[in-house]
């Protein structure tokens, strides 16, 4: 896959951080069209950027031949976003507590902690054809 592909309810990108801004534009525009509050849009955009970074680096090991699929579902009750990679799975929670004093100067390991502070649910499963599927839900 050479470039991002737009789906009816999402976007698929090659595994490169080069496409983070493409995903961000897609997600922020979709949420704005749905009338979501600006501050919530930023929280969700930050969360999606964390998940896509994880999917590229830890899931797909930056293999450009693999893809990351982002799907959105916006209803009157909630926003639901799923991020699916094509890797062999990774333990998304396998990081030391980032707010423990001895870990404060670590440069990495805050992504999931930040997402959990922004959303109501974070669910992790295996994708239908393998890979890690992370779903975040924000109530409206």
């Amino acid at each position: 896959m050479q470039k991002p592909k737009i789906l009816p309810d999402g976007i698929v990108i090659p595994s490169s951080t080069e496409y983070l801004s493409t995903v961000d534009s897609y997600v922020e525009e979709a949420l704005a069209r749905a009338g979501i509050d600006e501050s919530v849009i930023a929280d969700i955009a930050i969360s999606v950027s964390e998940l896509v970074n994880n999917a590229i680096k830890h899931g797909n090991k930056a293999d450009i031949a693999k893809t990351v699929e982002i799907r959105l579902s916006i209803t009157t009750g909630e926003l639901k976003i799923t991020v699916l990679d094509q890797g062999n799975g990774f333990n998304i929670n396998a990081v030391p507590d980032p707010i423990d004093d001895q870990n404060l100067m670590r440069e990495v390991g805050r992504g999931i902690f930040i997402i959990k502070s922004f959303v109501d649910e974070l669910n992790i499963s295996r994708g239908p054809q393998g890979g890690t599927c992370v779903e975040i839900v924000k109530k409206r």
Binding site: L20, A42, S49, E50, V108, F113
Partner: protein
């Protein structure tokens, strides 16, 4: 993210713009800090007033910058921290690590 910098009263003021989310351009800040240290410029203010938001990669860049400058005998300070970034610094307790100021002038004057 776009990156400009200028100098004032012996300090370097770096002015990133946009969103700091971990794209290929993220290494620019890291490279710039090393370039400045090589030139003997170790007191740096990062003006965050025009940064829409950042994620954990952006926070990691700030920590890396702080560590790098302190090892070289300098310091990194933050100015014009927006509400969104202030909230991230609070959630992650990094508010206890960084010195932040309401304006660039205040930050520059603090060295």
């Amino acid at each position: 993210m776009k990156l400009n910098y200028r100098e004032d009263k012996g300090a370097v003021i770096i002015e990133p713009k946009g969103k700091i989310m971990g794209g290929p351009e993220s290494t620019e800040l890291h490279d710039l800090l090393h370039e400045l240290i090589e030139k003997g410029k170790k007191n740096v203010v990062i003006d965050l007033g025009k940064v829409d938001w950042m994620n954990s990669t952006g926070l990691g860049l700030l920590i890396s910058g702080l560590t790098t400058l302190r090892k070289a005998g300098g310091e990194l300070k933050l100015a014009n921290v927006t509400d969104k970034i202030q909230s991230l610094l609070t959630i992650t307790k990094l508010i206890t690590i960084f010195k932040s100021y309401d304006s660039v002038d205040e930050a520059v004057g603090s060295f």
